[in-house]
Symmetry: C2
Subunit: 376 residues, 2 copies
């Protein structure tokens, strides 16, 4: 087993081409992590996930701690064995979802007390417990517990959540049991306040982590605010460590954030949208439920190499979706993840070849062209 | 393209080992056809269906005529292209489902008038229309329209449905446009009345079809009644043509019917049960939702070679099913279809080697052993 590491292979402006090395192999960066909430990327077998170009997946601590529980997963050999994913896994800390999904939550310095949304059980997620759960799962990258705030928020609220997040980060740092190939990432809070983001960067880099995430974005703020925070914060982070923008985002968000120095992303958008009929294509997004697709023999995206686009028509996908057939979400998710992973692969190539800006401009132009014209 | 054909390769008692040849390739018999109701075997890609050992799939005329319509499928290149299944496809006539699913149906000699269960549209399924739809779909094996009766039924009711089915079979025969590699099968009615089954066999073989199906079974009668009808009827059918027992059945039904001379089967049981958590194994069936599986690291069936059994524990499948994750039905369906297809493959080998009775006895004994003992 090799040590956890991050190699910076090329740089083009602020954009970075790198490689993560973990206990479960490598992931090329910029990387998009497919979301595998409850130990499954919804609807796909691990081989299908890998076929999209996905190299690293994300698991959700909140969901897994409730069911089947971290102890159960550990008994069964850890999350990789449980879900049969042999590549790297990053787990979130559970903090974000405890605040959005759990009932009767109460936040104190100790942690978050809450009732399970499944059966009402009273539980506590403390910094120490968040780390323990992730280490029981066997996660390659453990995230510290943090307190996220919805934007817009008053400066005092932002500062309070940030300060508490720093105290929690320090406790996570102490609780984390170093294991070869496994990493602990810190999370910067501070909302849209650049000064606070700089304070967060200073506080967390002082503590010292294996990577740094920007939390508290993708919570409803305009894209230009998110870009500004990334642009101003990334340079305050160590050059030789990975940077992760949590919960982001749309294809244009990924491109813009990569240009501003981000290395890692996760988002439910390609998988969740796939289940509701939205497809991402080289020419923007479309909804396959729309009647204009019902007799269209063409693939979702003629530029895409996924199984869905290679073998199935829009008419077939429209039919599956209208008929409520499970294969619809499966094929749409396969396509959307492939679209995201192909975008990341092209970004990686563009950075290595020093043409990241040109790539971004061409991508934006292609997205703006709109979907294929109807057939005559 | 080759002509439609059936080769009898070996016989062991009444059990037959054969091979169907169609416009879309071969299927070894005895064959189990996976049910692909609405142009999809629910949840599985065609490659996953093929990985189970499935060689021929069944499509449902009733569902497809309502959505996306036979004309739409034909415009898009036919059902094989539409659903990307390049092997043989058999379609039912729609008769059975029009009687079980449609609203306000009215049966006359002309056909069945009914209202769509989707949007209430008034439609008519006549013998001529049933054949036209199946030929538009491009089905390799078209079934005649027949009138099925629930058992028990009075002799006059059985006889009336049978006589009408013969008139319809004759009209289907005339309406069918012979195409190289494509076949038309007749359907015997007559319920549990052996004399009527013999009349049906005589009437249909007089008309002359490419194969013969036993309809009106698997409608609630005890297994011994079904076996008796098969046993008495099969010898009245041509030796050199395939025999299809419609809508059957449980694993023990398949074994018993093969021993009595049946070559083809279809049933929703492996796919539908997979979606509700029931798994078929070498040691009988089990429900993965049961709490006793929640920490069990063993596969569903240690004797099974499917992806599900090779890579995933009962504990994981239990988790997926309890969490309502789509991958649960996908993996369970993959397993169940593999179990069915492996059973058929073993039956084929046993017949070829003259040990069909021994195989059946060993299979029944294994099924009766019950599920694996709990782990200590």
């Amino acid at each position: 087993m090799t040590a956890f590491g991050f190699s910076l292979l090329a740089q083009d402006g602020q954009a970075r081409r790198g490689r993560l090395t973990t206990a479960h192999g490598k992931a090329e960066t910029p990387a998009f992590m497919a979301v595998g909430t409850a130990a499954t990327v919804k609807g796909l077998t691990p081989a299908q996930v890998a076929s999209t170009g996905t190299q690293i997946v994300l698991g959700n601590t909140y969901h897994l701690m409730l069911r089947p529980t971290a102890e159960r997963v550990a008994e069964l050999g850890g999350l990789h064995r449980f879900m049969d994913w042999n590549g790297p896994i990053l787990t979130d800390s559970g903090g974000y979802q405890v605040m959005s999904l759990a009932k009767l939550r109460k936040i104190s310095d100790e942690g978050v007390a809450f009732h399970s949304h499944l059966d009402g059980a009273r539980l506590m997620l403390s910094p120490e417990r968040a780390v323990e759960i992730q280490q029981l799962l066997g996660s390659d990258i453990t995230m510290v517990l943090d307190q996220c705030v919805r934007l817009p928020a008053a400066p005092a609220v932002l500062a309070g959540a940030m300060e508490r997040s720093h105290r929690w980060a320090e406790r996570c740092r102490r609780a984390f049991n170093p294991t070869l190939g496994h990493a602990l990432f810190g999370i910067l809070q501070g909302g849209d306040n650049i000064a606070m983001r700089h304070r967060a960067a200073a506080a967390l880099t002082d503590l010292g982590f294996d990577g740094y995430a920007l939390g508290g974005l993708a919570v409803g703020e305009p894209q230009e605010i998110m870009f500004k925070v990334v642009e101003e914060t990334a340079p305050a982070l160590p050059q030789d460590q990975p940077r992760y923008l949590m919960g982001v985002g749309k294809p244009s968000d990924l491109v813009g954030a990569v240009l501003r120095g981000i290395d890692m992303f996760d988002c439910v958008l390609p998988t969740r949208s796939g289940r509701t009929g939205q497809a991402f294509t080289a020419r923007g997004s479309l909804n396959i439920r729309n009647a204009r697709h019902r007799a269209d023999p063409r693939p979702l995206d003629p530029e895409c190499s996924c199984l869905t686009c290679a073998r199935f028509s829009r008419a077939y996908l429209h039919h599956l979706t209208k008929a409520g057939e499970m294969l619809g979400p499966v094929l749409m998710t396969l396509h959307n993840l492939t679209f995201y992973q192909t975008l990341m692969a092209r970004l990686r190539d563009a950075i290595a070849e020093g043409r990241a800006q040109d790539f971004a401009a061409a991508f934006a132009e292609s997205q703006a062209r709109g979907d294929l014209a109807p057939l005559a």
